[in-house]
Amino acid sequence: MTRATKHKSKSKQYLAPKQRKEGNAAKYITRNKALNRLQIKLPEFRRLCILKGIHPREPKKKVEGHNKTYYHVKDIAFLAHEPLLNRSRELKAYEKKIVKARAKRNFDLVERLLGRKPEWNLNHLVKERYPSFVDALRDLDDPLTILHLFAWLPADNSQKIRPEHIESARKLSLQWQAYCIRVRALRKVFVSVKGVYYQAEVGGQNITWLTPHCTSQVLPSDVDFRVMLTFLEFYKTLVGFVNFKLYHELGLRYPPILDDKLEKAANELYGLMKGLASAAPVIEDTPKTDGGDNDTEMAEEDPRAVESQARLASLHSRLLAIDTEQESPVLNTEATKEPEDEDLDPSVNIFKGSKFFLGREVPREALLFVIRSFGGTVSWDGEGAPFPESDEFITHQIVDRPTQGHKFLSREYVQPQWIFDSVNNKFLLPTDAYLVGKICPPHLSPFVDAEAEGYMPEYAETIKRMQAATSDDLPIFEKPDDANAATETSKTDVNVKLEKSFTQDLSKEIAGISYSASLKRKAETAPEEDDQKSDAAPAVVPEADEAVRMGRMMMTRKARGLYDAAKMGQAKKAAKIELLKERKKKAKVEAKGNK
């Protein structure tokens, strides 16, 4: 081809086809071209894309071919002007220098070089990607999920997961949880097979994140942790700044101080909360409304001194707390709580006044987080527990084993699911179904919209009725368990029917029809009505069907396709619901057979 063109150019001036200046050909370039333009290798490009939040786009016309990835030219130009691009090159050169100096045993130079490391941070990217705080909050789901994942991962040298990564991830996630507890932001909890889903409402945004079950994770071989770590790097920065802002809004110091003792006892969250409680007033003395400058200054004060002081203070308060605990436990629990309890929405304060004790076998971290987010007081079986198991004022003990050896009569022994279900339904469920050794009712997802789904599990209906009963302030909710509730509803149904018939009778009386006559009439009309219904139903359907068919004739082809697709979706959904109902029926039959 090129030969041909050359040949042509000899004989006759040949003009190469003009490069396009507009349209998709000019707007989008393939990934390889982008790499060439930026003069970087693919891993570096991938890293930059992750950090900058640049993603491929779908051009309407794929000029270079259909199986290629396209980036917008503006995106690539944006990358080309990114200071990190140069910074990473500097870093590479710097590392080379260190390696060289070390190889030459020039340790002086190494030391000097180590002190001159090029600065690398992603702060400007956070601001660039999330110009306002709300933007950042909106995108917080994935960051939190990944931070919580890394908080649980083992450090692994071969995958370059360093202990620092895990430590910082853990710290940030705990700070986030502490904030959620402090402002009672948690709304929903769902224990799934995959992990525990939490949903919190912060700044008017619903933020959902997933944490793994507290079992050790096995690192799969087919996962590229470089990608994950790049994401982690950005998310750490993002969540750090978000946490700072949130703490700043509360007038709290950031980063909060962890209680050393409790941290060692692996109750970090509790330790953090202790720190928050003790550190808060110190900062609140300083003017809150000042701008950012003041705050940064404050943060710039010699952090170590502040930290050590605060640590001492927290330790002191902790010791005090332990002392007071021994004297008057009730008082103490109040002391650790935040002051603004009164003006809270009751739905986020359902555990107020309850005192919980966690057994050894329940997931402590999740329960600590949830119970404290809903106003409860918690202790646990282990080191650093605020009050012992023998405390008389404990109302609920959370256990997750078939039997309980020694039982205190003053408290209820419930399974952890009770906490989650109560939280999701915003009122304290009756504990009967959740007691030790019982098989719990199904744990339902709070994220499902029953109406959109078109199907409501039985237990959801039961809970709904209970909720209605509690809102009416009826004392029913004290006793009902599953069966009771069902009978309750049947009773109400009967009541309604009776009432209806009564009004009918009344109206007839007014019309002057005798009771006996009306009875006769009823006997006549009732079957007729039924017949009419059975006749009418099939008759109506084809008519409607015909109308639909005729309407379908008049549709454009596009509309018809859309219509068919929508109908197919509806049919699928209906089939799913049908399947659920069928399974339910079968299960019921089986259960009966077993009985």
């Binding site: 939040g53 993603h55 491929p56 786009r57 917008h72 503006k74 702060n123 110009p131 306002s132 950042a136 995108d139 994935d142 999920t145 769902f190 224990v191 097979v193 995959k194 992990g195 793994p212 079950h213 079992t215 050790s216 994770q217 096995v218 087919d222 996962v223 590229d224 990608v227 994950m228 750090g240 946490n243 700043h248 701008g291 950012g292 940064t296 943060a299 710039e300 076998e361 997931p363 699911q417 199904p442 744990h443 997802s445 994220f447 789904e453 599990p457 039985e458 015909e546 639909v548 005729m550 309407g551 004739m553 008049m554 859309l562 219509y563 929508a566 109908k567 659920l580 399974r583 339910k584």
Partner: protein, 779 residues
Amino acid sequence: MAKLVPKRKLRSQGPPSPIVKENAVPEDEGSIPEVILAADESDSDPEISTDGEESGEDDDGESMDDKEEDGEELGSDDEEDGDSQGSEYSSGDEGDESSGDDEAIDEEARNYVLDVMKDYLGSAGPRDVEEAVEHEDQGNGAGEANGQSGNPTTAEESDSSEDEVPDRNTIGDVPLEWYKNEDHIGYTKDGLKINKQAKRDQLDTFLSRTDDPNEWMKVYDEYNDEEVELTKDEINMIRRLRQGKIPHADVNPYEPYVDWFEYEDKGHPLSSAPEPKRRFIPSKWEAKKVVKLVRAIRKGWIKLDKPKEKSEFYLMWGDDLKTSDKGANGLAYIPAPKPKLPGHEESYNPPIEYIPTAEEIKSYDAMYEEDRPKFIPKSFPSLRQVPAYPNYIKEIFERCLDLYLCPRQKKDRKVFDPEMLIPKLPKPKDLQPYPSMCYMEYRGHGAAVTSMSVDSSGEWLATGSLDGTVRLWDVQSGRCRKAWDFGVKVNHVQWNPNPQINILGVAVDKDVVLLPTELGGEEVTGNVAALLALKNQDVSEKDPESSPLATWSMDSKFKSLKLRQPFVVQSLAWHHKGDYFATVAPDGNTKSVLVHQLTKQMSQNPFRKHHGRVVQVLFHPQRPFLFVATKMHVRVYNLAKQQLSKKLMTGLNEISSMAIHSGGDNLILGSQESKMVWFDMDLSTKPYKAFKNHTKDIRAVAFHKTYPLFASCSDDGTTSVFHGMVYSDLLQNPLLVPLKILTGHETVNHKGVMDCLFHPKQPWLFTSGADSLVRLYCN
């Protein structure tokens, strides 16, 4: 040679070196290789001597040395001694061998001594040279005299030369060869000749060896012409040398080394040059540098204390809540879609109906990989039994991949009710009358009824069927008035539209039969009979060569006129005046469309060529136009001007039927791809509206003559009736509304409704089906 020399006993302990020394002349470096040679040749005494002598000198000059130094020197001395001795000894050795002596040990020892000497001389050479040089530098006396003068001191100082005996011979360092032929070997101190000793013969040697057990320890000294007996110590020394050890047992070779010069403070190399001035005055450049640094420190350019640890995070966002749609790159920000929230089925303890049964789970295996559900709900009796989710990290990783690898696109996904898509149509009730109910069925045909026609009065219906009959029905009563049996399947029937000419055109195989229906009054019948009488019978006779397009003949059976064509006639169409009619024989190629004149009984082929297989032709209801439908297009010919007036681009692939509105401006086409299209020919040559109202091939379409109705029937067994209002106002588009879908016909052999036809006066519809029925639908 050496063997022959008579032996002379050496004095006890005296190592041979001093002996050698006496004769030695100090020499410089060049001598060393010679030394080695000498050792081999065993006549090298003078050369060898150099070392020993010098060492003696050394000792002399450096008497202040440390012990170690001394020791070393001494050691070296000894070594030299060993050498010379060895060389001496070697001669004796050979003698031994020749005599074939007794003790193996002795022999061994001898060999061993010899080897040692050779080795040692080789290795020790260079060092000696150095010392010799040093010696010369000091300039203590020169030349030969040196050697002599050094002697006594050496004898005094070194242990080896302590009990040294001065040489008997005083010839000095001259080659012994010079005395080879003399009787004497030299002179004593007093100048007396020393006579050579008598040479011992082999026997003597042997005897002496056998007699004297110490014979092997003796060495012949050629210089003094005597045999010297080595002491035990000397032998030991040699043995040590041989082992590579220092000859004296009490010398420690690993003493710590103490350097002569103190290099540390002095600097090296030492120089006696005077100190330059610049060392005493302050540096200008340093001062400048200091000034610079001081300034930098003062101005805070250099910070001496370590930079404070900046807190990692700061207040990034103010209180403003403004959000912008555009990102920093100027493109619209498309947030990643949030992951789907979990439903009940993901719960660790889901409701029982969400858990698939064992059979269902088994059935998943049979599914395709893509269809298989990724997550199978499972129930755990308690929270503590929930294990780690094995795909947890993988799923999050996949989410990460989605975040940076998936192209993002903004799509407005509206949640809508699909019923909303159905267009709002006027209610059929408002558009009455239209045929909606089956009023009557006409039974009688034995096979599928392919074609129908109603006479202009609307009282009679003619139907043609595959059973080979044409039947005439009374529309009102449903009675079959008449039946003509052709025996071959009837393709098409069509009434003459002129009520005065009550003729039924029937297309049967290759024939077109014009049947007199014998309906109407006398006048009409007569008229028809006159028309159907064969007029020019002699046409064929007139022009036998030119094959006629069609042959007109009389059919006596039905008293009808028969028109035979070369190809199978599929359909025929009457002109509205009833005189002309056109026939279509699709296989006829250029002769597929023929126009016939009834009154003149003549046929003509108006077209030279067709673009495709002709399906149907129609006359315009008022004007001289002919519509010719081929498979994909419809061509409109102006008959008056004899030219093509329009070509309708149908967009269809297989046109099956065509009908024209009574106004003549609107046309509908049915196609085998189950589509019906409406043409408004005033508007465009492209379809005004296309309907996909059937699921199978459309067989026929029909317009009502007076009512705004049209219909299509299809192989799916249905007939759809539409309202098609055409307004006289040219600006207003026709209003098309589907009214009714009529069912009733059964499909036989994938054939459903074969033909449909409107009643000319009433809003009634006739349909004929493959089930051999004809139905009448009324309003």
